[in-house]
């Protein structure tokens, strides 16, 4: 597949789209920036920054319980943002809790679900490819509730061992918490099967969709998933905002997480009555600008077309895979059949940091290190990887620059 061929298959006018992202036109170390660290955080279209600016400059106000005009406007915008983000995954607004991000969402669930449903000896299932944010909250939960954390192993390609998973499910299992897409390996997990197998035993499933919502159109009803967590900042939105989706029937059963303003019906020193979901789980002044910005990001994506985004990313993925695989001495970590546009690699016995630095000198931003998946690094017996994670606004030429950059780095590192 040549670059020209590849470009023909891309259904988006990338040059035009890139105008929406001012940062893509900056330079790093004297070279035009190639931003391949989208797995860590995506860049923001002007639609997002402008929505935030408009909010602050024209209708900033605290939400809920205010009768004055600005407060009404801000409340309506905040609640409409909830509706927009919920609609994006085909959920009802009542089923969408705004959180600080994926990590906050998983902690919220681990605490409240743990408190309500997890008893001594119970089991929670995660996988070997989880991000620390989907490991540590469950470790803390299991420690607290004297429960057991079970880990689904993966094969050499970085795919879940579904047979092992099936065997792990038992009457002791109270929750399955697994990532939809691996942030390190790029693996897209068979979530439908994961959910079906768990539901066959009436076990609820939480998906860590931090690396999924920006690449795959998700319909929570069709998936029949019970809980799902994701971050705004990886979805072309602001930092400090994210969401936890939960089926109404589940959310109703969960006790509050944080206490404070907005999450209560009535407070007295003797007895406090909590509000219904989702407000029950949103204590304190929410990240109003964050929610508005997140909704603006979601609307921007819908405007471009989720199908076109998916096609573009598939083409880029194939091209990158082909190009990277052709580099002698480069080892891809994660070669799953079903994958997203995320490529972890190591070069000979080079340290990923060196590779990252030499690419940075050429204006190419990749992440290096363990990507918050230390257990996975231990499994592959490597200290870390360099990771190029792509977005629909990346171009085939940028992939060529990466390949050239890697060659140059290899030469310097004598690999």
């Amino acid at each position: 597949m040549k670059v020209v061929e590849t470009m023909v298959q891309i259904p988006l006018d990338l040059e035009k789209i890139r105008l929406d992202f001012p940062i893509l036109h900056t330079t790093v170390n004297g070279k035009p920036l190639v931003y391949f660290d989208n797995g860590a955080t995506t860049q923001k279209p002007l639609a997002v920054t402008r929505a935030i600016e408009t909010y602050y400059n024209t209708y900033n106000s605290n939400v809920h319980r205010g009768v004055h005009t600005l407060s009404q406007k801000a409340t309506i915008a905040y609640e409409e943002s909830r509706t927009t983000v919920a609609g994006f995954i085909n959920a009802k607004p009542e089923e969408l809790i705004f959180t600080k991000g994926t990590t906050d969402a998983i902690n919220l669930l681990a605490y409240t679900f743990g408190k309500q449903f997890i008893k001594e000896g119970d089991e929670i299932i995660i996988s070997a490819m989880e991000h620390h944010s989907n490991i540590v909250p469950w470790q803390l939960c299991c420690e607290d509730r004297k429960a057991v954390l079970k880990v689904v192993p993966i094969n050499d390609k970085g795919e879940l061992e579904m047979g092992e998973y099936e065997k792990m499910l038992s009457d002791k299992t109270k929750l399955v918490a697994i990532t939809y897409v691996s942030n390190t390996l790029g693996t897209v997990n068979p979530v439908k099967d994961i959910i079906a197998l768990a539901h066959a035993r009436n076990i609820p499933v939480m998906l860590d969709a931090a690396q999924a919502v920006q690449h795959i159109a998700i319909d929570v009803k069709e998936l029949d998933v019970d809980f799902m967590a994701f971050s705004g900042h990886k979805l072309y939105g602001p930092t400090g905002i994210g969401a936890l989706y939960g089926k109404e029937s589940w959310l109703e059963q969960l006790p509050p997480y944080q206490g404070g303003g907005d999450m209560i019906k009535t407070v007295s020193f003797d007895k406090t009555v909590y509000a219904d979901p989702p407000l029950r789980f949103e204590a304190g002044t929410p990240n109003i600008a964050g929610a508005i910005g997140m909704a603006a990001g979601v609307k921007y994506l819908i405007g471009i077309g989720l199908d076109k985004i998916a096609t573009t990313e598939r083409v880029l993925t194939e091209y990158a895979l082909e190009q990277l695989s052709s580099i002698d001495g480069l080892r891809l970590i994660g070669t799953a059949e079903h994958r997203g546009p995320t490529f972890s690699f190591i070069i000979g016995n080079s340290h990923p940091t060196d590779v990252g630095e030499l690419l940075d000198m050429q204006g190419i931003a990749v992440r290096t290190g363990h990507h918050c998946t230390q257990p996975l690094m231990d499994l592959f017996c490597i200290p870390g990887t360099a990771r190029a994670s792509l977005s629909f606004y990346n171009t085939p030429e940028e992939i060529d620059r990466l390949v050239d950059g890697i060659h140059k780095a290899m030469k310097l590192l004598k690999k």
Partner: protein, 143 residues
């Protein structure tokens, strides 16, 4: 008067006002004109709790028609409650169930129907519709 007619009349009244103060005077006066609610009906069951103000609503069904008595602890809400009950009281369950309440929007107080306002008015309207639907179904079964 039909539900539509009494709404039109209110809208007409409001059309004459030049100042926002006239509008509010009218609304507040309507609240004061509301016949006092029998204390026996001011029960928790009849209480519709908004986040800020409270509304009590009681429905009576007589001779095939629904009659509402209501109250609120906030004057403006009470005024709006009064207008709503004036429009809907004495109508048949079927008519109430089918009615479209356009006057609140037309007189520029739509914001009072916003779920974010939580003054009890929206909840009261829902409650009225529920009563009406309930009696409508009941009557249909009898016939």
């Amino acid at each position: 008067m039909t539900i539509k007619e009494s709404q039109d009349r209110i809208i007409e009244d409001f059309a004459a006002f030049e100042e926002w103060t006239d509008k509010y005077e009218y609304i507040i006066q309507s609240g004061e004109d509301l016949p006092p609610m029998d204390p026996q009906y001011k029960t928790d069951d009849n209480l519709i709790r908004g986040c800020q103000s409270r509304v009590w609503l009681h429905a009576d069904f007589k001779d095939g028609l629904l009659h509402f008595t209501a109250d609120s602890d906030a004057q403006i809400t009470k005024g709006l409650v009064s207008l709503v009950t004036t429009v809907l009281s004495g109508q048949s369950p079927a008519d109430i169930a089918d009615a479209e309440l356009f006057f609140i929007d037309a007189i520029g107080l739509r914001s009072h129907l916003s779920p974010t306002r939580a003054n009890g008015l929206l909840a009261m309207l829902k409650q009225i519709k529920m009563y009406a639907l309930g009696y409508k179904v009941q009557q249909a079964q009898k016939n």
